[in-house]
Symmetry: C2
Subunit: 340 residues, 2 copies
């Protein structure tokens, strides 16, 4: 019989600036057995997300910080390996915040059963998971798009951004993406239907490129990035614009606070609104969001785009890659094949 071990990625040290491989430590432990009411889940896909950086320091953030030695907190899609919980029979697929480990025990309270074909499992960490829900509620509830408006998305080729632009199109808006490579720009415009997109790394002038893409100004700015890209976008907002602050990935690894042009006068003169969001604020409406996203996906109006990195051992490298723009769409780590 095969000797099973449970590999787990733990926090080795709080990173200063960019996380690096020494931020993480691999531990190898026995696979636990489920106790009464418990489920043993075998990971198939790990999610790597920018928000995880926010838990890797002792500063206050929207979530409890991790302690040194903790298993890295993160979303997982897995398959029930053994179960003493009637709602989760062996072989069923689940999603939950099970962390970066090959096997996890759960009492089921934090698990969502996925009744999906195996090929849709990755989407349940992307379009049909937290990133999709973030895009759905952030754009529709906070951005409140009206047909004909211009929606600009920074980090447009990321897990959330790819969905925001597609939902903007479904709402009859003009979708303009800002991304960090020509390949990503290509995916946004050719595959995902954005009206325009540009590579901020090669644009001579981000503000000029935005103005070219948005001759009528910006009605909604959905921000995943922050920093100078956001400065440029805010300088072009229209009367009654809405700015959705979903992420500030350019700021997460700074060791001291950055400075930039003051922008509150733009909000005053335009009676514009800005709102920071976190998807869990819509927890009681996840069902509505997932249903609508699944309908759009089935109808072909919404496409799922993932960057899949192979192998449990690759999780730190994949995570670090987020801060270098290595993903287009949702970044996942594939840990194992489902057992059919």
């Amino acid at each position: 019989m095969e000797e099973r071990v449970n590999r787990r990625w733990r926090l080795a040290e709080y990173p200063e600036g960019l996380p690096k491989e020494t931020t993480f430590r691999l531990s190898v432990e026995p696979v636990p057995d489920p106790g009464p009411g418990q489920v043993l889940v075998r990971a198939l896909y790990l999610s790597v997300d920018p928000y995880q950086r926010g838990r890797m320091h002792t500063r206050r953030s929207y979530a409890r910080p991790m302690e040194i030695g903790d298993v890295i907190v993160g979303g997982t899609v897995g398959q029930v390996e053994a179960s003493r919980h009637p709602a989760f029979p062996p072989g069923s697929f689940v999603e939950g915040l099970l962390g970066w480990q090959e096997y996890a025990l759960s009492d089921g309270g934090d698990l969502r059963r996925l009744d999906l074909a195996p090929e849709l499992l990755p989407a349940s960490l992307g379009v049909l998971g937290m990133p999709g829900l973030t895009a759905y509620f952030g754009l529709l509830d906070v951005g409140r798009p009206k047909a004909g408006e211009t929606v600009v998305i920074s980090g447009a080729a990321g897990a959330v951004g790819t969905v925001v632009g597609q939902i903007a199109k479904i709402q009859g808006c003009r979708a303009v993406g800002i991304a960090g490579s020509d390949d990503k720009v290509d995916v946004l415009v050719r595959e995902l239907g954005f009206d325009a997109a540009f590579n901020y790394k090669t644009a001579a002038d981000v503000r000029g490129a935005l103005l070219d893409a948005c001759p009528g100004g910006i009605d909604i700015y959905f921000d995943n990035v922050g920093g100078s890209i956001t400065d440029a976008a805010i300088s072009l907002i229209n009367l009654r614009a809405r700015v959705v602050i979903c992420g500030q990935i350019s700021q997460y690894n700074l060791t001291k606070p950055a400075r930039g042009p003051r922008n509150l006068t733009a909000f005053l003169t335009n009676r514009a609104m800005l709102q920071g969001i976190l998807v869990t604020d819509w927890e009681d409406r996840y069902g509505e969001g997932l249903n609508q996203l699944a309908v759009w996906l089935r109808e072909g109006r919404l496409k799922s785009h993932e960057t899949v990195v192979e192998g449990f051992e690759s999780a730190p490298v994949a995570f670090i890659g987020l801060f270098h723009g290595h993903n287009t769409g949702k970044m996942l780590v594939k840990v194992a094949e489902p057992r059919i």
Copy 2:
């Protein structure tokens, strides 16, 4: 018979930086006669307001810029001197955007009839006018105060700020004011019932002073000032805080855009909201606001506080004084006594 002239303050030049006396030019003209349907209004009080600075350049703002030679745009309380309009008989009191001139013609469309005792006329440019309405809708509709919350107001001793703090108290909140002199701090705390206030010019450290006054953080920040005071306040906002951007007086006279610490991460981690406001967005609800403000005033729960400068010729000096903090409460220029 007394020879009547109409003195009018006109824009002489667009100011660079702070407006100065040469920004304005006094012209002396004949008093016009009302045509059919017209009203001739004799000014009793002129309003001087920070927003007027925004019209004195060609840059885009929330209002049409003034042209060189235009009579300075501004609110006036006056008395009908002669009338060919049935709704405004001679002797009646009115308020309107009649500009800095001793006599103005109006077709009545821009006039609000004031059925007030003469001693309440100044209040109709303050607590019972645009500043009061700005405070009322800005705090209640955008700030959405809940009893027990902490409301911080910058420019707290100004026309709007004095009312915001008093309404915050009526709502059961803790009101904390930031002002620019010890005398103003005194008025806020002793006369107007603020829970705490401090002089940002003598505080060793604005953030420290705010933290002392707000040990539980800031739930609503009502901003009239901008700049480094606002940086300090935003660094102390609580989860789901609301930031109301009503003015940015520290920024209006800058000849180049200022820089400051980036603050969007504070909005993200706190799921906080920021909204720029302009009172005319609530025009269809002015009646509601004025009624409520008048009730509070009558009940003694709201106090009117004005700084009155004497003489039509003093309007530019009074206006320039706004940017040096010369006013406590609403700044007015008294032009004439009402005829009883």
